[in-house]
């Protein structure tokens, strides 16, 4: 499953990172808490969130997320996002609410992330 497939399934807009849509998504993780994102940090994870602040970008960078899907229609302010350097992480936005977004992805075979900071 690639980010391009994710975009199609969720009918999402690509806010940035169009050139990286062939990246492979291994798991999904939906959350609105930064610390929880960090606890479940795993490379290749698609981060799904209704938070729309630039902290999400830093968090996605640290957790090696493959991309971020902003749910619920309201798009984040791209210029704010760009201040923190969005170049590496593709950002998508969908009108779907978080439950439906996750349900659709699960239906298409995306599994949930497991906590892997535990060693």
């Amino acid at each position: 499953m690639t980010l391009r497939d994710i975009r199609d399934i969720l009918d999402a807009d690509v806010l940035c990172g169009e050139q990286s849509l062939d990246k492979e998504v291994t798991t999904g993780f939906a959350c609105d808490l930064i610390s929880e994102m960090l606890a479940f940090a795993s490379s290749g994870t698609l981060l799904i969130t209704s938070l729309k602040n630039p902290h999400v970008i830093h968090t996605a960078e640290v957790m090696d997320a493959v991309g971020v899907v902003f749910v619920g229609g309201k798009k984040p302010n791209l210029s704010t996002m760009k201040q923190v350097g969005t170049s590496r992480i593709p950002l998508l936005a969908t009108d779907l609410l978080i439950f439906k977004c996750c349900g659709l992805l699960f239906q298409h075979g995306v599994q949930g992330a497991k906590r892997d900071c535990l060693q």
Binding site: L33, I34, S35, N53, H55, H58, T59, V62, D64, C117
Partner: protein, 150 residues
């Protein structure tokens, strides 16, 4: 290791309510450690420790200093702040326990998982705190041969 072994130091100043600086420090730490050739897992765990430690300073303290030292044997991260201190460290370590104000939680912070995340990502963790003075947090990640600094 020989006495001429490489030693790298990265420092960050963290101020009260400067939320973006916490994330920036974490991103910079991760990039620096990757450039030094450390294993992805070590770079990520170090960045998580920096993020959470810096965020604690941003949320709770007045100001703080973060220092990341990389030597061939370990990565050590020391966060030192001037602030109210932690009255009950054992309680603060519990996942879900949080004293963060509502507006901080609205941004997605203050979940009460910070110290627990730091502990999970480190091999050693020491916290010394004096109420009304401040807190010193020291986390270490031991490096195995294969994680070595280039």
């Amino acid at each position: 290791m020989s006495s001429g072994a490489p030693r790298h130091v990265i420092e960050f100043l963290i101020r009260e309510k400067d939320f973006l600086s916490a994330g920036e420090s974490a991103s910079k730490t991760k990039k620096a450690l990757q450039q030094l050739g450390l294993k992805a897992e070590v770079a990520k765990n170090s960045a998580i420790i920096v993020y959470e430690a810096a965020m604690n300073v941003v949320i709770h303290a007045i100001s703080g200093k973060l220092r990341v030292v990389i030597v061939p044997e370990e990565v050590s991260i020391v966060a030192e702040d001037v602030g109210p201190g932690i009255p009950d460290i054992e309680l603060a370590m519990q996942e879900g326990y949080s004293t963060a104000p509502h507006e901080v939680r609205e941004m997605g912070f203050g979940a009460g998982m910070g110290l627990a995340n730091i502990e999970r990502c480190s091999d050693e963790l020491n916290i010394k705190s004096e109420p009304g003075v401040g807190t010193v947090l020291e986390a270490r990640i031991h490096l195995k041969q294969k994680d070595d600094v280039r």
